[in-house]
């Protein structure tokens, strides 16, 4: 198909760019993960697979488990909060739909750090909220503060795909469902949810994968037990100057995330061919 050949040419700039500036750098990370450092802290290439042994040291297992746990909690909360909001905007938003979506996205563009520090100011022991309540509740430096920070940071990535999926739905389906099932809950479970499951999956992936590797929320909002794998990686690159170990951690993390991404893509592909 000659239009196909014509269009295939368009792939070249993007392919070249991504290979040279994304795939190759990841390859270098892989190479460094087998290296070591000299006395002055410079990275040396070589063959030191013990870096990977270190990654799987049982002392780090809780860190990985915690990261996955926090990320799952974040996804769950994002779904619980995001779905009703996306539903309301998509179905009841009317003329204001687009403005509402814009308002969801807007806070996301205030610098992440500035927003997080604003939360610390608000929820600090001597901050606005405690002041107003006349209380001394410890909000910050808890696991829930970290999850809250993660949810706040990634919620938009859940709402947008959900909104897109809901917006695409034919309202007649919901009406038919209501006639068939009677209660809103059953309509939701048997009609709306199945039709928006791709949006749910997309949002889940877009939230879960980056959340696992996040380091800022735990650093700023966490307590002593909030060490996540992103912090561990950051520690290796910044404080410990152990780039090879950091690279090994990174490689393992990405491999782990890649598995989930492939599973998601398979499911999306199946859905696309089924439609």
């Amino acid at each position: 198909m000659s239009q196909g050949r014509f269009a295939a040419g368009f792939l070249v700039p993007g392919a070249l760019w991504l290979v040279l500036l994304f795939a190759v750098p990841l390859g270098i990370v892989l190479a460094i993960s087998f290296g070591t450092t000299d006395d002055l802290g410079n990275t040396l290439y070589g063959w030191y697979p013990e870096n990977y042994e270190q990654v799987f040291d049982p002392v780090f297992l809780p860190v990985l488990a915690r990261s996955v746990g926090f990320a799952l909690a974040t996804v769950a909360l994002c779904l619980l909060i995001g779905y009703p909001v996306a539903y309301y905007i998509a179905i009841f938003g009317g003329r204001w739909k687009h403005v509402l979506v814009a308002m969801v996205v807007l806070p996301f563009f205030v610098n992440y750090l500035v927003r997080t520090y604003a939360w610390i100011a608000m929820l600090g022991d001597e901050g606005v909220v405690n002041g107003a309540l006349g209380a001394d509740i410890k909000f910050i430096n808890t696991p829930w503060a970290v999850i809250g920070g993660l949810v706040y940071g990634y919620l938009v990535f859940m709402i947008l795909p959900l909104y897109a999926a809901l917006d695409r739905m034919d309202p007649a389906l919901i009406e038919a469902g209501k006639d068939l099932y009677g209660s809103p809950w059953h309509t939701f479970r048997n009609v709306t949810l199945p039709h928006t499951i791709q949006g749910v999956l997309a949002g889940t992936v877009l939230v879960f994968l980056p959340a696992v590797g996040d380091f800022v929320a735990a650093q700023l909002l966490g307590g002593p037990d909030s060490y996540m794998v992103g912090n561990l990686i950051q520690q290796q690159f910044f404080a410990a100057e152990n780039w090879p170990f950091g690279a090994a951690l990174t490689t393992v993390l990405m491999a782990f995330l890649f598995v989930w991404m492939v599973l998601y893509l398979r499911s999306a592909a199946r859905e696309a061919t089924a439609e």
Binding site: Q3, F6, A7, A8, F10, L11, V12, G14, A15, W17, L18, V19, L21, F22, P25, L26, I28, V29, I32, P84, V85, Y88, I91, F92, H98, A102, M103, V105, L106, P107, F109, V110, N111, Y112, L113, V114, R115, M122, E126, G127, V128, D167, P171, A172, E175, K178, P184, V205, L206, L209, P210, G213, D214, G230, I233, Q234, F237, T250, L253, M261
Partner: protein
């Protein structure tokens, strides 16, 4: 989409959504409010003042950082939208041996933890001996932006279908002309919307910039990260408010421009690949 006819008035959902927006904007309100505070305090509002904005715009080094951030975001926007659009067209309108792998490769940056992307970019630049500068930041930003453009434009292209293009070619138009005169104008809202999204993301980016920045000027978010450890000064809140204003403008354009250019749907609708209603 209009709400189904016999739905109850969604009182609960409405209240829930309202509460959601309150929480979403609470810290933003704080930031904006205290950027106009006449004193340094972050607890008490002592009167209205523009002094922190004076400090921000009066500082040559902060102004340079602002200019750097804008420059980076603009170049990133232009290059990423071009490459991303071409990639989207190629992925949708052709089927090669490489398409599957390329599709995956294109999606990976979207889910790569930022620290990984930043470190690997720094590594490749230092290995190749490229001096860190605004250019390296731009290269890094473009790399993670292409995927956003491709995903958005591709959804739009897929929804458009081949019919009009095939009709044009039946009428004797060359493939290049068809692309230029038929396809491109039809996906233009998607290109614009994703371009503005890329601009906003680049303007606020910290992690990638941090790794790939050279000597001065450093982009604004990097400056904020270094300074914020020493306490949030009201100047930082002023910077944050200013960035918010820029983003409001950007998104406002994203919504309004396609309408102003005569399309019937706004950029947001385009962002989600729906056909013109």
């Amino acid at each position: 989409m209009k709400p189904p006819k016999d739905f109850d008035r969604p009182r609960f959902l409405k209240a829930f959504t309202a509460l959601f927006f309150v929480f979403l904007f609470a810290p933003i309100v704080l930031v904006v409010l205290f950027s106009f505070n006449s004193s340094k305090s972050l607890q008490n509002f002592d009167g209205f003042s523009l002094r922190w904005y004076e400090q921000f715009f009066g500082s040559e080094s902060l102004r340079d950082s602002l200019a750097a951030s804008v420059q980076i975001a603009l170049v990133t926007m232009v290059v990423a939208t071009i490459i991303g659009t071409l990639l989207a067209y190629g992925l949708v309108r052709s089927r090669t041996r490489w398409s599957g792998g390329l599709n995956v490769l294109m999606l990976v940056p979207l889910v790569t933890p930022e620290i990984v992307a930043g470190v690997s970019a720094l590594l490749v630049f230092t290995q190749v001996g490229l001096q860190l500068s605004l250019t390296t930041i731009i290269l890094g930003h473009i790399t993670f932006s292409i995927s956003y453009v491709t995903v958005v434009v591709r959804a739009r292209l897929a929804a458009l279908g081949l019919d009009v293009e095939e009709a044009a070619m039946d009428l004797g138009a060359t493939r290049l002309d068809t692309f230029r005169l038929i396809t491109l104008p039809a996906v233009w809202p998607a290109i614009l919307a994703s371009g503005l999204l890329v601009f906003a993301l680049s303007f606020d980016d910290f992690v990638m910039s941090f790794f790939t920045t050279g000597e001065s000027p450093q982009p604004l978010p990097v400056r904020i990260w270094s300074a914020i450890r020493f306490g949030v000064t009201p100047t930082i809140n002023a910077i944050g408010t200013f960035m918010l204003a820029v983003s409001v403008l950007t998104i406002g354009l994203a919504i309004a421009l396609p309408r102003l250019l005569g399309r019937r749907e706004s950029g947001v609708g385009v962002l989600f690949g729906r056909e013109a209603a």
